[in-house]
């Protein structure tokens, strides 16, 4: 059985797409992450054009972020003011990212650019996760040098335009949240991810946001960011495929629930270690295809009649 994707203009096996959505949803529920960084490479491996995969994935991340933020909202663990500043920077960054995305498409470089960025991104995330999980498995002491962490946050206290963020217990300049939001917004538009893996350490180590508020605030900001990216990609680049998004969401919702339940019974450090290996393997495959694979030196593009 196959379904025809109207925007991607190709036929795919829906069960493959559902399985991809469910797998990523499972990981998302298990680790509390969006999973966007896994979804695009998997869709590309399934033959979906990179431009459509990135744009449609933002739509899927929107759905999972709403589901994820809800619990934190109920527990009053969302700093709306902080999220608002980050979202402001994110909207500008994502608009720039969509514009860059369009240019890359017009020059025919979008596939290579996305693959290259994902190789870097997956390598960094996988490497950090591998190191952290290995340390946890070996029960090394750690958590970082408190003095170094205070030094990382010092810049937020000397910049102007300070504001109070009661929910986070902070009195810092709003410039750093805007800058972090801008960077994450740009990445979200070009790669189609929510940026949680960048936001989480940035919010904790650079801004000093408490962990209990960090996840909910991050998801709150990602909701509006991915909604905006979805709208822009659909309007400007016309690369959002609703059929693909719907099929992914079906798998994602089911997988996320199963993953959340499984996470209660499994050893988290071991799972993070395995996930790190999976991420590094995917990054390795992308890198191999990019540099050593049998990639044609020619590329074909259908033009508008």
């Amino acid at each position: 059985m196959q379904i025809h994707l109207p925007i991607a203009e190709m036929a795919v096996d829906p069960f493959v797409i559902i399985a991809i959505g469910a797998g990523v949803g499972f990981i998302s529920g298990l680790f509390g992450v969006g999973g966007g960084f896994l979804l695009t490479p998997l869709l590309m491996f399934a033959g979906v054009p990179a431009a459509v995969a990135v744009s449609t994935q933002a739509n899927q991340v929107l759905a999972t972020s709403i589901a994820g933020a809800s619990a934190h909202w109920r527990h009053r663990a969302v700093d709306v003011r902080m999220g608002g500043f980050m979202m402001g920077g994110g909207l500008v960054g994502s608009a720039l990212g969509v514009w860059v995305f369009r240019i890359l498409r017009e020059t025919g470089d979008i596939e290579a650019a996305i693959a290259s960025l994902y190789v870097v991104f997956l390598g960094i995330i996988g490497g950090l996760m591998f190191w952290e999980s290995l340390s946890a498995l070996l029960k090394s002491t750690g958590g970082g040098d408190p003095k170094r962490r205070r030094a990382l946050r010092a810049w937020t206290r000397i910049l102007p335009f300070k504001r109070r963020f009661p929910r986070s217990g902070l009195y810092i300049s709003f410039i750093p949240p805007i800058l972090i939001g801008f960077f994450v917004g740009f990445i979200a538009a070009v790669l189609g991810i929510g940026g949680g893996f960048i936001l989480a350490p940035a919010m904790v180590y650079l801004l000093g946001i408490p962990t209990r508020v960090m996840v909910g605030t991050s998801l709150f900001q990602i909701i509006f960011l991915t909604a905006f990216v979805t709208f822009l990609q659909a309007t400007i680049n016309q690369t959002v495929d609703l059929i693909l998004a719907a099929v992914l969401m079906v798998g994602g919702v089911v997988g996320a629930r199963l993953g959340a339940k499984a996470g209660q019974h499994l050893n988290a450090a071991q799972l993070r270690f395995l996930l790190a290996l999976v991420i590094l393997s995917m990054g390795g495959k992308l890198a191999f295809d990019l540099f050593f694979g049998a990639v044609s030196e020619f590329h074909l593009e259908a033009l508008q009649p």
Binding site: Q60, V253, E301, Q304
Partner: protein, 247 residues
């Protein structure tokens, strides 16, 4: 209904409703079992069936081939070089070129005959007039044909041409699932000693239908509304996830 009666009915219908062969003295007429195929979300490809009538269908000296060609649109082929990129545009080329023949096509028709018939993959793409003397034209044509072949949209090794009794010819070609909607031609060719001696064609239309049509048109004509619907879909599914979690 006897076979002879069926032959008379089909032949009469073909001769009345289809273009007559362009050959001087060998009529060849063709018609499709279904000239409109509708593409919807559950579209998985379709089989195109062509019926033709030829007065020489019983002659072993001639051979028949059938081609599915179209829709035509401009294409660009880019090539990575050490200095950057090179780009070459074809003003018109078929998205799909699927050829079925009674035997190996290369044995039935000479390269010149295939080019004249428009079924030679490496000559399917048409460059702009001012590019006809480009020294790299052969390379770009070759690259275009290879890329299309890799995508499964150019094929010349199909079977499915069958001679029936009474001068009737039947050809079945499977349309690739990735074939884009648009206007196609289904052409039948008669070769003798490698030379093209007759041809006929019938138009085929692959149309978007139902949900596929609605979504595609909405994304192109009202992209802002399409974008809002996409956001609403994501929000709705996320909200359903919240409700499921609470329950």
């Amino acid at each position: 209904m006897t076979r002879a009666f069926l032959f008379v009915i089909v032949s009469f219908g073909l001769l009345l409703t289809t273009p007559v062969s362009r050959a001087v003295d060998t009529p060849l007429a063709a018609a499709l079992a279904n000239d409109i195929i509708r593409v919807d979300v559950d579209y998985t490809g379709a089989r195109v069936t062509l019926f033709a009538v030829s007065s020489r269908a019983d002659d072993p000296k001639v051979a028949y081939a059938v081609a599915l060609v179209g829709p035509h649109r401009p294409y660009a082929v880019t090539r990575k070089t050490d200095d950057g990129k090179e780009r070459f545009e074809f003003i018109s080329a078929p998205a799909v070129l699927a050829v079925a023949a009674e035997a190996d096509l290369a044995k039935l028709a000479s390269p010149d005959a295939m080019i004249r018939a428009g079924i030679h993959a490496r000559y399917a793409a048409k460059p702009a007039t001012d590019q006809m003397d480009n020294p790299d034209l052969g390379m770009w044509r070759h690259a275009f044909a290879d890329l299309k072949t890799e995508a499964g949209l150019f094929r010349a090794d199909l079977e499915g041409v069958e001679r029936l009794e009474g001068g009737l010819i039947r050809a079945d070609i499977d349309l690739p699932a990735a074939a884009p909607p648009g206007d196609y031609d289904v052409r039948i060719f008669m070769f003798e000693d490698g030379v093209l001696t007759a041809e006929a064609e019938a138009p085929l239309s692959l149309k978007r239908h139902g949900t596929e049509n609605a979504l595609f048109n909405l994304s192109r004509n009202l992209p802002w509304l399409y974008g809002l619907i996409a956001v609403f879909l994501g929000a709705a599914v996320g909200s359903i996830g919240v409700l499921l979690e609470r329950n």
